[in-house]
Symmetry: C2
Subunit: 690 residues, 2 copies
């Protein structure tokens, strides 16, 4: 499970049902004390909460992690670290396939553009944000006013504290919180297993259980050229997870939309999810086919293919829920029930009007959706070089504007992250670029039509393949020094470069921006209306709820627990012997092949060591790499997946079969000592220091 | 390359260009004598033509083949025989993977439902068909009148001769020929190599060159329980193919539409090809993913996956040509030029009107296209059991009607073929059926919409997965005895069965038939109009042209010849050493792995033996398995593919890089003797008898 492409929306029946069982992704500032106390007799102290919060980190590449030593070790999933591993690999060194271990500090390899954020503190700024919106303002005025004040708050905070400062919209606009993060950009690779050990079973076993993966990647954070000594880090559990015990997940669930109205659900089911899914399936076929032509192709495409297959399976699961009348009917009933209860209350008419406004806005969005995704979100131009070219072109136009007037990704407070990505030295492969761009231009032409005016402009009289070839081989933006010059030189320098890829981006910019405005206006109406419905929901259901996920830090909890499936009991914890058995069943063939070190260790490892385990916590994409913690605040495992049933749980929460999946702390230590022979690293984890 | 899913249309610029170079798929009744004489100094005798014609056979599973011994041996491609191999395999015996050899006549395995047709004679019946259409009849009346007289001619001929009798529409309705075939239904497997030898390089090397495949499958035809002794069979060439020599292809090109108007090209580019391609990519992902879960899954899905990937690559090639302005602009110019030249001639106004009528009909067809393909062509119900259920349901309704009023597939003269397919004992796998049906119901729901009335009827309140499971496990039509009872019992028995799959088919039948009528009406208008344009084209360009392909026997010709690509010369003939080299480059990994027998033969085979070769003949899907013949009428190879450039050649003929690809006769003998140690079979081929 992986965040980046998992944009999808996630629904639940929360509007009708009180929060039950182990549901919820709770704010650290408002933990579910009463529920924990009642169900588990556990009441976390403020110190416990702050310690866990500050031991947790967020990866800008899309995932979560945690500090696990006094000397700056951070652990996350292999698939969260993959982006960094891929960028530091080349034709001769393949960290993804072969894994890595730095025996000495000097051998630790710096990542090219990885950024970690540690949440230092949070502050409620709802009153200030709302005060900035003039009474009776229309949607657009309100949106701009809010964007301005948010930029102002973020800038003030950043200037004052030097910390990354983001204002987060919670409860669909019911609340705004200022989150201050410590940023770490000197992150070095210490250890990675072979991807085959981290992702044993590959796509076929992804989102399935039982599993046998050691899905980890270990980095060390540096500050001023020296290992960081964080104030907080998680102690390693000596025992590991136990069946039936209470565990917590501290991580950054990416996005949920549990307040979706019927109109939003219909848009997701009929418009956005099928569109994205068909793009994913197309790319899956393209890269699978190209990868088969040679080993080097396969290496170059591996990370993209990994993400695509992961997302594609997710959308299959999501759509299967969205097309299930049982779920849709229940959701409709919940909506009707909420409307009935809200109507007689103060503002009842506004609530009903909010539903209508959402339906109208979704209709508008649906009409521009494909064009918007292809031309503005870049699905029609699947190319790293295009992304760079467009960023340079837009940076020239946006940076001279007042901070609050810019497109949000060019705001002053996002500058560091933007530049880190823009000036990345990560390798770009012309053959893969041409392949991806040609196929996405073909898709663009199919969807918008060969005769479409914009398509004709884009294609410039060439076939998609010819056009992609000439753009990829004609552009100079692969040169990082040139990127610096154009970025520093601004719009004039960018224009003067007459770079074909930049000019392509410019040729669609006017229409792309117009589409974005239409989409954002619709989105703004939806957000405003959701906030109205959100307030009505609070009025009806009380305040004991959690906000939708926003890729910010949350606390989830649950029980280590198996489940029943097709009349069979699936146990909660797998063990090393299961790994070897499953590989044997498939004759050791890919993706059930074992790396050489694992084959060699067969006689050495303790077959009864716990490997992976499942539990009932409420997680989604973005939680990948989150620590799983016991009530003593100790690290007992690391979340790396949800089972296949959890994909439908995203629409309707259930703890019947839906489970989060973690690699156990025991498996990590056993593998480090017996398989990889890196006892020093195992010692650092178990003792908490070098 | 394979016919069944290769429905696609194929275009050329023939309207503007005289037939050049080695273009053309010629009727045996009108061979290109003048062109052959001029280019090659060769004038085939009538005896030569009849001998080649009667040595050729058509496979009803979609492909071509030829008699190659006096004792009834027929050779075709492994991928044409695949359907039969798959049907005779089961969990313990895998003919596809392991290959097969019958050392004795008793060991030869009878195919379940394979039918071969040998073209015995042809007769021009144009005058009789045209006479049956009342003067001034509208399109529908003309269509029905023509359907009636065709059914009458076919029935008469069948009653008189006992031969399968098909009236073939040629030159877009410019001519109608009655083809009489000998049918052979007792066809037994003699030899097949491992699929890995036949399809070495798999999907990555498909449509590529150089190639190293021995893509063959050898059957023996029986009649009255004894080996057939055909009057005609091809003698085996002692020498094999030579670079630069003239060769012929005698086979059944599936379908071309080289007379497409701009409106038809636009429909193909913007509507039908993208639709089919997205269905193919979806199924590719589904089956690739499912196959990876277990070896048995992979075996069950193998044949379908093979066909899907083949077609998917074809559509990628086709769309790349359709989106190429150079090709489209040239085609537009050709159309304008033909219109300009035809306008002043007699009937010029009708010709221009024909273009307009085609555009209008394509518009009508485009509006119903997705619904028609999903509901009537069955893309929304991807299930063998559904196909059987619908055939039973419709047979009950259609068979009591007059022969000429029936849907064509239920006409009396198609009865034998229909029953062979309907009562096939081929295995049906519930898990694969459920998987396929659930995914196609999901696709149906996405495309037509969750709220669509017909979709709601189909889904019956269930999710696609639940509905597919209940249908597959609830139907009884997998029982062949039951199929016989319902078929014999007619509509009343079919209704009384209350079988859920049959009832599903019935629930959409009214709408499906209406869609079919709309599509057929549009198609009829297009055909009529094409005939008008076709006549104008003859008036302008003369009669020295060939008709579009119709999956009937044609003669093509060309030169054994390499080509230039990216500055490199690709030689015309590969050799055994190249096979071993390519496998080594990929470390012997799938799909570049060599079967055990080929590994063992490495020291034994003559590495200089010709393996595959390319030549300039004009072929398309359906030609798979066609014999490649030298001017002495000897077998020098067997067509199994076209190179990637030939996919664009389908739109604009060229002999620059487009090539047909054959396995050489030499490779077949070397493999039989040295790799498989089956000298007796090699002797039968080279001597022509047992």
């Amino acid at each position: 499970m992986k965040t980046p492409l998992r944009l999808a929306a996630v629904l639940a029946l929360s509007a009708a049902l009180p929060c039950l069982a182990d549901e919820g992704m709770w704010l650290f500032s408002a933990p579910p004390r009463a529920r924990l106390e009642k169900a588990y007799g556990f009441n976390p102290s403020d110190a416990w909460l702050q310690h866990v919060m500050r031991s947790s980190v967020r990866f800008n590449s899309g995932g979560s992690g945690s500090f696990v030593s006094a000397d700056g070790l951070v652990i996350t999933n292999n698939h969260v670290g993959l982006d960094a591993l891929q960028k530091m690999s080349n034709e001769s060194t393949n960290y993804v396939r072969d894994g890595f271990y730095a025996a000495t500090q000097a051998q630790e390899v710096k990542c090219l553009d990885l950024e970690l954020n540690m949440l230092e503190s949070t502050e409620d700024v709802t009153a200030r944000v709302n005060a900035a919106v003039p009474a009776g303002a229309d949607a657009n005025t309100a949106f701009l006013a809010r964007r301005n004040v948010i930029a102002e708050i973020e800038k003030e905070s950043h200037d004052k504290t030097g910390l990354r400062s983001d204002v987060i919209t919670l409860y669909q606009g019911g609340a705004y919180h200022l989150y201050r993060y410590k940023r770490y950009t000197d992150v070095r690779l210490v250890f990675s297993p072979e991807q085959q050990a981290a992702f044993f079973g590959g796509d076929p076993d992804n989102f399935e259980y039982p599993r046998y993966d050691v899905d980890i990647c270990i980095f060390r954070v540096y500050e001023n050229g020296k290992p960081l000594h964080p104030d907080d880090y998680l102690k390693w559990s000596a025992e590991g997870p136990r069946d039936g015990e209470l565990v917590f997940v501290s991580g950054n669930p990416g996005r949920t939309e549990r307040l979706f109205t019927g109109a939003q659900t219909a848009f997701l089911r009929d418009t956005s999810a099928p569109f994205i899914q068909s793009v994913l399936k197309r790319r899956d076929v393209l890269l699978t086919s190209w990868s088969a032509r040679s080993d080097e192709n396969a290496r170059r495409a591996k990370e993209d293919l990994f993400g695509i297959r992961n997302s594609r399976k997710f959308y299959d699961g999501l759509l299967s829920g969205l097309q299930d009348p049982a779920i849709i009917d229940a959701k409709d009933e919940a909506e009707t029930s909420l409307k009935d209860k809200a109507a007689p209350l103060a503002g009842g008419a506004d609530t009903l009007e909010a539903y209508r406004r959402i339906a109208a806005a979704e209709g508008t969005y649906a009409r521009v959706y494909a064009r918007y995704r292809l031309l503005e979100s870049g699905l029609g131009f699947n190319s790293e070089l295009y992304d760079i070219a467009r960023t340079l072109m837009r940076a020239g136009d946006e940076r001279p504007k007042a901070n609050g007037d810019r497109l949000p990704e060019f705001a002053e407070q996002k500058k560091d992250s933007l530049e880190l990505a823009l000036f990345s030295e990560k390798p770009i492969y012309d053959d893969l670029e041409t392949l991806d761009l040609a196929d996405s231009l073909t898709d663009l032409t199919e969807r918008l039509g060969y005769g479409d005016e914009t398509v004709r402009t884009i294609m410039a009289g060439k076939s998609p393949r010819e056009r992609a070839y000439e753009l990829v081989h004609g552009t100079h933006v692969r040169d990082v020094a040139l990127r610096h010059r154009l970025y520093d030189g601004g719009a004039a320098a960018v224009s003067a470069a007459k770079d074909p890829m930049i000019e392509l981006a410019r040729s669609v910019d006017q229409e792309a921006r117009a589409l974005r405005r239409t989409a954002e206006d619709a989105s703004e109406v939806i957000q405003e209306s959701q906030a109205v419905i959100g307030r009505a929901r609070f009025a009806v259901l009380g305040t004991s709820t959690y906000p939708d996920a926003t890729f910010t830090l949350r606390l989830a909890y649950g029980t280590v627990k198996g489940y029943e499936q097709d009349g069979e009991h699936i146990g909660s914890i797998t063990h090393f012997d299961g790994l070897y058995r499953r590989s044997d069943e498939h004759h050791g063939r890919e993706p059930f092949d074992l790396p050489q070190k694992w084959q060699a260790a067969r006689g050495r490892v303790n077959m009864a060591t716990p490997m992976d385990f499942v539990f009932t916590a409420d997680i989604v994409g973005g939680n990948s790499g989150s620590p799983t913690i016991n009530r003593d605040g100790e690290f007992v495992g690391i979340v790396f997946d949800g089972d296949i049933q959890s994909l439908t749980m995203d629409i309707a929460y259930s703890d019947a079969q839906s489970r989060a999946v973690s690699t156990s702390s025991n498996a990590i230590i056993e593998a480090l000592r017996k398989v990889y022979g890196v006892g020093a690293l195992a010692d650092e984890l178990t003792s908490g220091h070098r």
